[in-house]
């Protein structure tokens, strides 16, 4: 079970005119893994992720997500993934339960299942008092936790997180990563970009993008050993130094 490949990327490239945003990247992600997708700003992380979730088309190369080709079967992929972006993207003028109901409904869940699962979720998050609160009046950390819960509410095979913890305090970040571990235990693969190097340590495996290429890909401990670094921060800085892009 653990060795099923859920994301398979080979020689994926994205060009915008003369600019190569993503340069011939190849990697695999196995099911149930927490995969950290690291890189400096402008290294091409978000572009790569957008190709995987069907928001943009590749220039060349192939990739499969949950067994579907990203070039031809992006609509199938969308049924099997969850996504949460750095820009907070629940509806601010809907209540907590209404947001959950909307996104669950979009993925084809039935009214009765939605109602039951919403109760469970709110209980688990200790959110029951906020059921009827408009999302815009929640604090940011709570919004992010809710957004993550909504992204995995329909039990996707893999969830893509684009800098999910940006701007969130350390305590909430910890809670957030606990939720990520919980999702991974439920066999949801987590594919996350982040800026926080301490978070990279929480990942099973980490890839580091520099100038559109993947320059390193391994477990955090192997990377630290290889680069003779005391923490991921040092690994990252050693690699990022090679960058020629601004």
């Amino acid at each position: 079970m653990k060795n099923n490949i859920i994301v398979e990327v080979s020689e994926l490239t994205k060009k915008f005119g003369n600019f190569t945003a993503v340069d011939n990247i190849t990697f695999k992600v196995t099911e149930g893994e927490i995969f950290g997708f690291l890189g400096a700003n402008g290294a091409g992380k978000t572009t790569a992720m957008q190709m995987l979730i069907g928001l943009s088309k590749q220039t060349s190369g192939e990739a499969f997500v949950a067994g579907y080709n990203i070039r031809t079967e992006s609509e199938e992929i969308k049924k099997n993934i969850g996504y949460m972006s750095q820009k907070f993207s629940l509806y601010e003028d809907l209540k907590v339960w209404e947001n959950i109901r909307l996104f669950a409904g979009i993925y084809g869940m039935k009214d009765k299942d939605i109602a039951e699962k919403t109760d469970d979720l709110l209980k688990r998050l200790d959110f029951e008092d906020e059921r009827n609160t408009l999302v815009k009046s929640l604090p940011l950390g709570w919004k992010q936790k809710l957004a993550f819960s909504v992204a995995i509410f329909h039990n996707p095979k893999i969830v893509f997180l684009d800098e999910p913890t940006g701007g969130v305090d350390p305590a909430t970040r910890r809670q957030f990563w606990e939720m990520i571990y919980k999702a991974a235990e439920d066999n949801i693969t987590v594919f996350a970009t982040t800026h926080y190097m301490d978070e990279a340590e929480y990942c099973d495996r980490v890839s580091i993008m520099v100038d559109g290429r993947i320059d390193a890909l391994d477990t955090p401990s192997n990377l630290k050993a290889h680069f003779e670094a005391k923490d991921m921060d040092e690994v990252f800085r050693k690699l990022a130094r090679k960058a020629t892009r601004d």
Binding site: L55, S56, Y83, S85, L90, D93, L102, I106, Y107
Partner: protein, 373 residues
Amino acid sequence: MGTLKFLIEKEFKQTLRNSIIPKLIVGYPIMVMLIFPWAINFEVKNIKVSVVDHNNSVYSQRLIQKVDASKYFIINNITSSYDEAMVDIEKTNADIILEIQPFFDKNIVKNKTADVMLSANSVDGTRGLLGNAYLSQILNDYSSELRSELAHTDMSPKHKMSAINIIPQYKFNENLDYKVFMIPALMVMMVTLICGILPALNIVSEKENGTIQQINVTPISKYQFILAKLIPYWIIGFIILSIAFVVVGLLYGIWPAGGFFPLYISSLVFIVGISGLGLIISNYSETLQQAMFLAFFFILIIILLSGLFTPIASMPKWAQIVAYSNPLSYFMEIMRMVYLKGSSYRGIANPLLFLTAFAVGFNTWAVLSYRKR
């Protein structure tokens, strides 16, 4: 289909929770129908006249009284000097000078003809022109009145001329009431603004908030997304129109002569079409600012070139071509025909066909240009 239910539910919750839109839905049609029919009015009234009376006789007095009695004119000044009247014009105290020549009474009695001179201030062209026309009408009346009087006094058969009266007859709007003419057009304008601009702004604000990206990674098809956006505005359009129908009926006693059914049918077609135009605008705009500007650009053109204020037939050729490729022209035509003439389906079949073509065209374009990236 199941997904659509959730999306429409969301749109309604958001719309009703909005602090302005629900009030707008009720208040807008009432306000427009209450105020605009009185304000948007091309009748020229209260034209100020300075009379230069060189004659000062019974006949000239009678003429002045006749002018004064007309609802169109206000006698501003009666003087014996043309220069003084010109000062009135310069100070904009007068729009027209009516100059009565010295031997007005004698000429009328002796020669059966007399001269008066009209000078109109044409800075405000409509006022000058229409004032002139109205005043000439009064003079004509007066002269035929005098003729018949004089004919009666000296009874000789040669003076018995029959006064030729031109009685214009205006069909379907007998009193040439501008309100009746403007109301159907105002309804069209209202629906255009509500159903054309609001959905466009709604979609673009989802782009700005980033929520559309979240929607784009879900399995929702673009048809479902677009339909869910439009259906609430279609319903809002119908509510607004219905409120307007009732307000106009109760307030002005004007009910559609051709019945409600053809109105609703053509409104449906028009609303679907104009919201398609709104979608096209939203697809080409990334920010609310762009969408607003694009929307106003198009709305201004289609409203001004629709025959709302000025008849299409009196536009220059190129503008007529624009007007005939404008869905508003056809909807306005239908609304006026049904409201005033009582046209039924046979009468509106042609413009309705054009409207349908627009609706299909706009929406096809909208769906093609919406990219679910």
